[in-house]
Amino acid sequence: MILESAAPPAANAALAVEFVMGVALAGGMILARRKRFKAHAVCQTAVVLFNLVVIATFMAPSFRHGVLPGIPSHLGRSYYLLATAHGVLGIIAELLGLYILLVAGTKLLPPRLRFTRYKPWMRMALAVWWLDLLLGLATYLRWYVRLH
């Protein structure tokens, strides 16, 4: 009995890219701990912005085609539940990342919308991102992998 993936190349590529981005974010955190804040900012910004491209080109079309027709009626099934949870948490993680970029890297937001304690926000964003990454892996396994 072996596991076999029926995933299209785009899904394999998206999974690989998402893991590389997750590792890069963790690497960016290490840069911050070593006080290399400029490199940290560049690394995290690149990941958050590149993730927008992945969402637009692969995640969103895949969700619209494969999941949206089945919700909310089939939300009780793991196929839809995992993908929906992954999608919702992914949007939260991405929005959180963009918000942190706006606060930490620009002066676009008014003072009342800005935070001053960076660490809790960034740690929360990283945790949400990695949790979503694991949900993405679970979704991949549920959608594409079978016992053969």
């Binding site: 029926a6 299209p8 085609h65 494969g66 027709p69 089945g70 099934r77 079978r146």
Partner: protein, 112 residues
């Protein structure tokens, strides 16, 4: 006489049982117009039908699949478990198709 009748009856019964089996053994045409989708595969993978036949796909897998022809002749929406999709073939030819969500899943409808 009774023995002869008994022999004839046995021969007839044997022929009745064996005849369909012998027909099936030499038959290369799949006599069905229904394709079952299960465990990431179409079954039968190749179906031969005549012009005007309506072929129905039924998804028995626990995840959605699609039925999409290579030539764009037909394309289903995402079929959930127990959902069906039908298409009537109006001209002869070979129609290769696949699942757009799992492109390794392929099948073929030969229309004669």
């Amino acid at each position: 006489m009774k023995i002869k009748n008994l022999f004839c009856s046995l021969a007839f019964a044997a022929g009745t049982v064996l005849l369909p089996t012998s027909l099936m053994a030499g038959d290369s045409v799949t006599i069905t117009n229904e394709v079952k989708i299960d465990n990431f595969s179409f079954g039968p993978q190749t179906v031969t039908v005549t012009v005007g036949t309506k072929v129905t796909w039924i998804n028995k897998d626990d995840i959605p699949h699609t039925v999409t022809s290579d030539s764009k002749l037909f394309a289903s929406r995402a079929l959930d478990t127990d959902d069906k999709f039908s298409f009537t073939f109006k001209s002869p030819g070979t129609n290769n198709y696949y699942c757009s969500m799992h492109p390794k899943m392929t099948g073929k409808i030969i229309v004669k």
